[in-house]
Assembly symmetry: C2
Homo-oligomer: 358 residues x 2
């Protein structure tokens, strides 16, 4: 257990903490819209798919938000889940005892839990706990969760695939920071890392979720049958980093050794991973949850910084951040005006149910 | 539930966070000695008093450390509890399934959970969670804890008793910062606050602890039959604050409105509170756990700052801290050499067991 929890190979780049101008708390409105779109789906999932009769003997529901960051989105999502559970509890005629809720807010150990805790809703109807650690490892005891939520997080891999930063590998991704425009070997290395990570994720959740419990995922992915394609934001980031390397602000070697630990899976890839794991059924996949609604360049730029500052700082250091995101903002505005947004990334919703076989 | 959890009347002055020179993490060796002294008692409590057969159906033990601060003492205490549980589990012949442990680290919302999480032991054999909030309110779902530990924390009241800072009250504690050398009305106001707080503490724990579960308390208190007496540290702090008021660095009014929310209970007071509550039996009280071993003035001075900086800063502001603790250190050294330490405060251990009646 200890080894599973503290695997040293997992890299942690939490969203920007605190409540400052660049913080995730103040730059995550887009992710909130996504959660809003999934609200009805969550409510339906709980009403129709959750086997409450099996596990409400103590009338305590345990809920986890994996990759919750610092709020406020997580509080919004959790409130929705609790209302749906309360409604179901009433509808089933389980009036005798009011249910209680314990909510586990999970993110990397370096996530800003102090800010998260300070901003907990004062009138919350649940007992709150913070759980530090990667969701690619075990985080909870056996059969202890009834509902797991994970929104806009699982596209972060546990780490950069080793071959893409290995000069001697055919998958060495020289001069690029991501896989979409790279050769097949690079794409395969990312796919292999994703496969391994999904195995860890589902293995851990299969142990932690009670039989009949649900896992709801909101995934930044790509449609079935679609090839991987570079997002505008990452393309612009790559171009800005190249500019800085040309100017000598960062070394070319430093740039070559930088890759983003992100992978956009397709619904089919998710289904294949669930099949291989064997402990869950796919109850629902909704692919029309939304495309990335990149409507205001300034907003995208701020959201992007809040999410990516950590991973960039860990590699290049603190010093380059302001200059990088300043040029990013300017370049993005120009690109955003002139190029149509590529529509290949999509957000989909998936509902998994823990099978009764243990 | 929400109201119980977020009572606005609870004042929070966590121990000094971070890992700096004045941090609690680096200035809590004395509290660690106390935990060390209680180690054998905890082991015996679990071996002899815990009814594991009743609640190990899932083989997950849930443990809480209330008022854990930022470590490392809490990790030391928790490890001891887990080893005792593992030993008991083996001795009972429950070999078929290895038990799992979930540990809830609780402290005020303003406690430095980021530092706590960063310093979690890497090879721990438990799932860790942080729970922000006052232990004078509900923190956990019904019947969800098997072992509650609370060391050197419960002498902190939930707040300063109102009458002692009310000019119109006969309990107004003008010119003093604590009750031991004050008139009877002041002592009574502190006693009343303590009675109310213990009622809240035991009421919450009665709901949270499973029948047969244990609550182990290490309490900075006073012996039965002994009057309250000022500790040397608090006496010196009072004198330093008075000096600052005389010099005009702080106003006299500010000093008059400052009182420490601390109360040293006796074992008899604890037993009376447990009786009034009715849900626990007192299984054991060990009064000889230790007297406050104030052996090195420099160490005491640092420990004192780590523990009291928060409550002083909240009232007087950040600016006075260095000057205050500088003069505190000097004055304490002199007093420490010339005066024998008063021996009226003591540390005692109490073991409560949740009765089977619900």
């Amino acid at each position: 257990m200890a080894a599973e929890q503290t695997s040293k190979t997992i890299e942690a780049y939490p969203m920007k903490g605190g409540d400052g101008v660049h913080s995730y708390a103040n730059n995550s409105s887009y992710q909130r819209e996504v959660i809003g779109s999934a609200k009805r789906l969550i409510t339906e999932a709980i009403a129709e798919k959750l086997d409450v009769d099996n596990f409400v003997s103590s009338y305590t529901y345990r809920i986890a938000d994996l990759g919750c960051s610092v709020g406020p989105n997580t509080f919004f999502a959790v409130q929705n889940i609790i209302e749906a559970l309360q409604f179901k509890h009433q509808r089933q005629g389980l009036h005798s005892q009011l249910p209680e809720f314990q909510v586990f807010f999970n993110d990397h150990m370096l996530n800003d839990f102090n800010t998260l805790f300070s901003s907990l809703p004062p009138n919350r109807e649940y007992y709150a706990a913070g759980v530090p650690g990667s969701f690619y490892s075990r985080l909870f005891p056996n059969a202890s969760l009834h509902f797991v939520f994970c929104s806009y997080s699982i596209h972060w891999l546990s780490k950069v695939p080793k071959p893409v930063v290995d000069k001697s590998s055919p998958a060495w991704n020289k001069g690029r920071i991501h896989y979409p425009n790279s050769n097949d070997e690079v794409v395969k290395a990312y796919q292999a890392q994703h496969t391994e990570d999904m195995e860890c994720f589902l293995h851990a959740r299969a142990k932690e979720v009670v039989c009949g419990g649900l896992v709801a995922l909101i995934i930044l992915g790509r449609p079935n049958g679609m090839l991987h394609s570079q997002s505008l934001t990452i393309g612009v980031l790559e171009s800005c980093l190249m500019d800085m390397a040309r100017k000598g602000i960062i070394s070319e070697e430093k740039l070559d050794s930088f890759n983003l630990p992100l992978y956009c899976m397709s619904p089919q890839e998710l289904e294949a991973a669930v099949d291989r794991n064997g402990y869950f059924s796919v109850e629902r996949i909704i692919t029309e949850l939304g495309t990335v609604p990149e409507t205001q360049s300034q907003k995208i730029s701020s959201n992007f910084r809040a999410a990516f500052e950590g991973v960039i700082m860990a590699h290049f250091g603190y010093e380059i951040l302001d200059e990088l995101f300043d040029s990013f903002g300017k370049k993005f505005e120009v690109e955003f005006m002139t190029k149509p947004m590529s529509g290949s990334s999509t957000i989909f919703f998936a509902l998994l149910k823990r099978k009764a076989t243990s």
